[in-house]
């Protein structure tokens, strides 16, 4: 295995020396430090890169490379430019876009980061990159009993994969507990407590890759929502009604054998170490009429704490969730309209709400957000800081004639860092609000006219 990787690296180096990557020759990474946090099932990696321009032309952007196995599970990539010294550090967010390179070795995926201003020859810049991986911890053993702890594999490379030459680099991996069954050792590598340090490595060629596998214990709750449909209904009479349909699973090692309730309740610390029974949802501050139910009916195991900045709903499904078990439920709540609906300077109205799932530390495989606009709204458009699939539908609800326009936003692989505000713009003439009371008025009017007519109609056949 190692010899094959070695041959692959040599082949790539030869191939690279023959072809010419203009960007790879211009930039060089002087120092790279990577910190990977494996404490929960959402893997967070922080890369601090010091990039130097060794070419003759100013360079406006740089590439970040990811192996094909990681590209599929990448939920978010963010980059910040750090300027200033220790006390006066300023962080500027940078634009990160996925790109394709025509001559990518072995299906490597790329993201291009645009600098604040083009980097001149001889200049250096320090960047901090955060990327989040989902579904990257593979449970091994695949099935565990109730009394066993959960052990997982994490596969990555000790050497950071990059299209540029890296002069000096180190990788520090943080595990949730001190129990690490094994880890691939690529000299120099050592482990101290909850940290495994790979490095420092000097002078690695572009696209060098040394795969490592870390086998460790992770009992954090692997809460995965397979499908979440959030419906936000806007009513200009004063409220926003949000209904969320969840399909929750435990994404860790599958449970095998029997479930002993006696063991679970009497020896809670030794039994079902990787299971979870409570979840926390963070809701907006002024929330009212919260309900939590499923197909059977209302679920009463929940606690709501309202506050000034946020409200917290701590709820428990009807049973604790072990590996591979599922739970389906609905959470609904209402918030006042004036917190979220605004009028833009050009006369259009817009809704400002948070995208993403309110559950903490949860991955959503498929998220659908439906914003139901009131009847009579025209020209809907959505503005988001990341890419989603947009669609339009029609929904028929109370007192509707033509139906309500629904803006459907769909995104896969959503993590809690996606809980940022988004806007939906639309135009609405206030006179349309009068349509609803007029409908009710005309209904009652017809009832009375009908009663008048009934009283005065003569249906006798014989003439009096």
């Amino acid at each position: 295995m190692a010899s094959r990787i070695g041959i692959f690296v040599v082949f790539v180096a030869v191939f690279l020396s023959l072809s010419s990557f203009s960007s790879a020759q211009d930039l060089q990474i002087v120092n790279a430090e990577r910190r990977i946090d494996l404490s929960s099932h959402i893997v967070k990696a922080f890369l601090t890169l010091k990039v130097e321009n060794i070419g003759k032309n100013p360079v406006a952007e740089m590439l970040l490379a990811f192996p094909p196995t990681q590209i599929k599970h990448l939920a978010m990539v963010q980059a910040l430019a750090i300027t200033g010294k220790k006390k006066k550090k300023t962080y500027l967010p940078l634009d990160v876009k996925p790109t394709e390179q025509a001559d990518a070795p072995n299906d490597t995926g790329y993201f291009s980061v645009s600098f604040v201003s083009p980097l001149g020859p001889g200049e250096t810049v320090t960047l901090e990159v955060l990327y989040i991986l989902t579904h990257s911890l593979e449970p091994f053993p695949v099935e565990i009993t109730q009394s066993e702890s959960q052990l997982v594999y994490y596969r990555d490379s000790a050497v950071i994969l990059s299209p540029y030459h890296i002069k000096q680099q180190a990788t520090i991996v943080k595990t949730p507990s001190t129990r690490v069954e094994s880890f691939t050792s690529i000299e120099p590598a050592n482990r101290a407590g909850k940290e495994i340090k790979y490095g420092p490595y000097e002078n690695r060629a572009p696209y060098s890759y040394s795969p490592v596998i870390i086998h460790f214990e992770n009992n954090s709750p692997f809460a995965v929502v397979e499908e979440l449909v959030r419906e936000i209904e806007i009513s200009h009479w004063g409220s926003l009604q949000i209904t969320e349909n969840y399909k929750l699973t435990h994404g860790g090692a599958r449970h095998k054998g029997v479930f002993s309730r006696v063991d679970y309740q009497s020896k809670r610390s030794a039994s079902g170490a990787s299971s979870f029974n409570a979840l926390l949802a963070v809701l907006p501050p002024r929330v009212n009429s919260v309900y939590y139910r499923d197909d059977i009916g209302n679920i009463s195991t929940s606690h709501l704490r309202t506050g000034f900045r946020k409200s917290e709903l701590e709820f428990e499904p009807r049973y604790p969730l072990f590996g591979g078990w599922r739970a389906t439920f609905i959470i609904g709540y209402r918030v006042p309209l004036e917190d979220y609906l605004f009028e833009a300077p050009d006369g259009r109205r817009y809704l400002n709400f948070t995208f993403g799932c309110p559950l903490v530390e949860t991955i959503v495989n498929k998220l659908t957000v439906k914003v139901v606009l009131p009847e009579g709204s025209k020209d809907p458009s959505a503005v988001l800081p990341f890419t989603v699939n947009q669609d339009l539908q029609v929904k028929y609800s109370y007192l509707d004639i033509v139906g309500r326009t629904v803006v459907v936003l769909q995104k896969d692989n959503v993590v809690p860092t996606h809980n940022v505000p988004f806007q939906v713009y639309y135009t609405f003439k206030p006179i349309y609000m009068l349509a609803e009371p007029l409908m009710l008025v005309s209904a009652f009017f017809f009832v009375f006219v009908a009663s008048l007519a009934y009283v005065h109609i003569d249906l006798n056949i014989a003439k009096k």
């Binding site: 004063g238 006042p336 009028e343 009710l440």
Partner: protein, 70 residues
Amino acid sequence: MAAKPIASPIPVLMYPTLSVFTLAIGLVITAIFFIYEATSSRKNCSLGKELATATGFGSLFLLLASGVYV
């Protein structure tokens, strides 16, 4: 971007109060209408419009107060 929050045209806190008052007025006028109609035999369209309006708005506020939020 200066943002002006949009709220309901009528204060939300007053929905239950308004619904009680408008429904009461509507029911009173409905009662007058039916008694008037039963005692006399003349067509009276204009009175019908009045009480339809009162009952209509009353039922709207009743719906809103109970949380249906049309």
